[in-house]
């Protein structure tokens, strides 16, 4: 009998069949979890059926079936009505709704089953104990529970029960209304919206980080250029001092050598003259010494070496002067400069970029002095020439042939046009629109001056000019820098005068 009619509380409390002893209170938490797991494993409608059968098993007699069917017949319409009332109120003000309910005791149980302050099932043992743990009360409570579930199932459909069973017992014990579902939906929508907001925020943050990185890179490049400029200026000054005494000494040595050689020749001719009565032995000794130090070759060697030294000093001077012109500290205001001269200086400095891949020709027309920041414009031109050299290098790399770069200038209608043409691979149509974008590059890392075409264009724009290009893929590219001869300020001053 005991086996067939086990104590309902222990059945409720301990699904494993272990009876909790009075001195050893049941582990409600873990039991709750076990029951929840079992319920979760069952489909929604089967969960209702299981509970119905459980209720029958708790009170196993034909009367229990009657009791179950009877209370169901009463509770289902009641719950439908309650649910409807809640829906009408559009809010889960459950306690108020239950106060209006005719069946107060059911309402109280339902109220507790809504999960406040504990999930409904956790209240069951306490209620059962309070009622003296009668089987009947347990059956009532179970019936109430599956009654609610049936009401929910009838009202909201099995589709809602399904997620409920997965949501756990706390969900199961609650009365669900459209309002509650609505709240859940709202919560979900809110979290979705928050997720979208987060995504947007993340994207904008990422964009901001990238923008910052770009700016930092730009700044670093600018600082690097400035530092290089200052360094170049200092190095130029340091090199100029030894260059000064080299440039002074070498011609002196040259003159001295020339004089000495002339003197030796003179002495020799006098000594070997038939009229000179020199001891032949002494003459032979002198001739032997002259041969030993290679006097015949010495003359050619000295003259040629001095020429080379002179040429070397000249070239170093030119490079250092160009470097200084290129790197001299920026003046704040624009000044009229000879662009052709600046181009020569720039080409001297850029030599190592193009020397092995291209021949540079210049076609420099007569230009009036152009008002500009000399350093900035020279940087732009240097950048264009280096780009041209790279473009040519990419084409001739394997063949060993040489390309050509033509730098030309001309004045036309109040502006000067400087063009840098190369015989490189040209700019593919696909990237035509991108070449002036900041940090767009087709070059490998570390190649180029780091002074992008974007900055070149910005510089030219700041001068009131324009930077454009014409390209024929496979044949080459020509960049055009157009600069107004007089700056806007000067023109305004002239107009005012």
């Amino acid at each position: 009998m005991n086996r067939r009619r086990p104590r309902p509380l222990s059945r409720t409390m301990d699904a494993s069949g272990r009876r909790p002893s009075p001195g050893n209170p049941p582990d409600i938490g873990s039991h709750y979890g076990e029951v929840m797991e079992k319920l979760n494993a069952a489909q929604g409608k089967w969960a209702v059926m299981i509970h119905l059968l459980t209720a029958a098993a708790v009170w196993p007699s034909w009367r229990s079936v009657l009791w179950v069917v009877g209370t169901t017949a009463f509770l289902v319409p009641l719950n439908i009505w309650i649910t409807g009332a809640m829906m009408r109120r559009r809010g889960p003000v459950v306690s108020e709704v239950f106060r209006t309910s005719a069946n107060v005791s059911t309402s109280i149980i339902l109220f507790h089953m809504t999960g406040w302050p504990l999930p409904g099932w956790l209240w069951l043992p306490f209620i059962a104990l309070a009622y003296g743990s009668t089987r009947r009360l347990t059956a009532i409570m179970l019936t109430v529970f599956w009654g609610v579930m049936t009401a929910v199932a009838l009202h909201d459909g099995v589709a809602l029960i399904y997620p409920l069973t997965f949501g756990g017992l706390a969900y199961l014990c609650r009365v669900f209304t459209e309002a509650r579902v609505g709240i859940m939906h709202d919560m979900f929508a809110r979290s979705e919206a928050q997720r979208c907001e987060l995504d947007t925020a993340h994207e904008s943050l990422q964009a901001a980080v990238e923008a910052r990185q770009s700016v930092e890179l730009e700044l670093r490049q600018a600082q690097k250029l400035e530092a290089i400029g200052r360094l170049a200026s200092g190095v130029a000054h340091e090199i100029n001092t030894p260059l000064q005494y080299l440039a002074t000494s070498i011609p002196l040595v040259g003159e001295g050598v020339h004089d000495l050689l002339r003197l030796i020749a003179q002495w020799r001719s006098r000594l070997t003259a038939p009229a000179a009565h020199i001891d032949p032995a002494l003459l032979g000794e002198l001739e032997e010494s002259a041969r030993a130090c290679g006097l015949e070759d010495l003359e050619t060697m000295l003259v040629e070496s001095l020429e080379m030294a002179q040429d070397g000093v000249g070239r170093v001077s030119t490079i250092v002067r160009s470097m200084k012109e290129l790197a001299h500290p920026e003046r704040l205001e624009k000044a009229p400069i000879d662009l052709n001269r600046a181009i020569h200086a720039m080409l001297t400095v850029a030599q190592h970029e193009y020397r092995y891949v291209a021949d540079v020709t210049t076609a420099l027309g007569d230009l009036p002095p152009v008002e500009c920041h000399a350093g900035e414009i020279t940087q732009v031109l240097l950048n264009l020439v280096v780009n041209a050299a790279h473009a040519v290098a990419d084409v001739v790399e394997s063949s060993g042939a040489r390309g050509s770069i033509i730098v030309s200038t001309r004045a036309e209608r109040g502006e000067v046009v400087i063009s840098v043409a190369d015989t490189g691979g040209g700019i593919p149509d696909a990237i035509r629109d991108k070449v002036f974008e900041p940090f767009f590059t087709t070059k490998a890392v570390g190649r180029g001056t780091g002074y992008g075409l974007a900055m070149a264009r910005a510089t030219v724009d700041q001068h009131g000019g324009s930077l454009s290009f014409a390209s024929c893929p496979g044949r080459g590219t020509t960049f055009f820098v157009r600069l107004p001869i007089a700056s806007a300020t000067t023109l305004a001053l002239q107009a005012a005068a």
Partner: protein, 122 residues
Amino acid sequence: MTTILLVDDDPFVLKALVHGLRRSRPGWSCSVAANGAAALEELTKADFDVVVSDMRMPRMDGAGLLTRVRDAYPRAVRIVLSGQAEGAQMDCARSVADAILSKPTPVSVLVTCIDGALARRA
């Protein structure tokens, strides 16, 4: 006899210039000083027709020296021979010097420059 005072903190520059000038113009007499202060001391000992000075030097720089030379010995020709081409010092030097030459300058150019300045002064 034309007397020239060469001022530079690099002894090799001085030596090379002395040799160069002596060869180009054997009639000229060259003295040297390693900085502005030393140069002023030389100027108190003897009269100089020409002062050729570097810009960056310890103790007294070229601009300071040439300014004092202009004030104390207005007849002396003042020439700057410097590796520097820009800066506030150079702007100052430009206002007090008869000529500015940038290193490296061949001796022949220096001689021509001195000749021209002396001719103008005479």
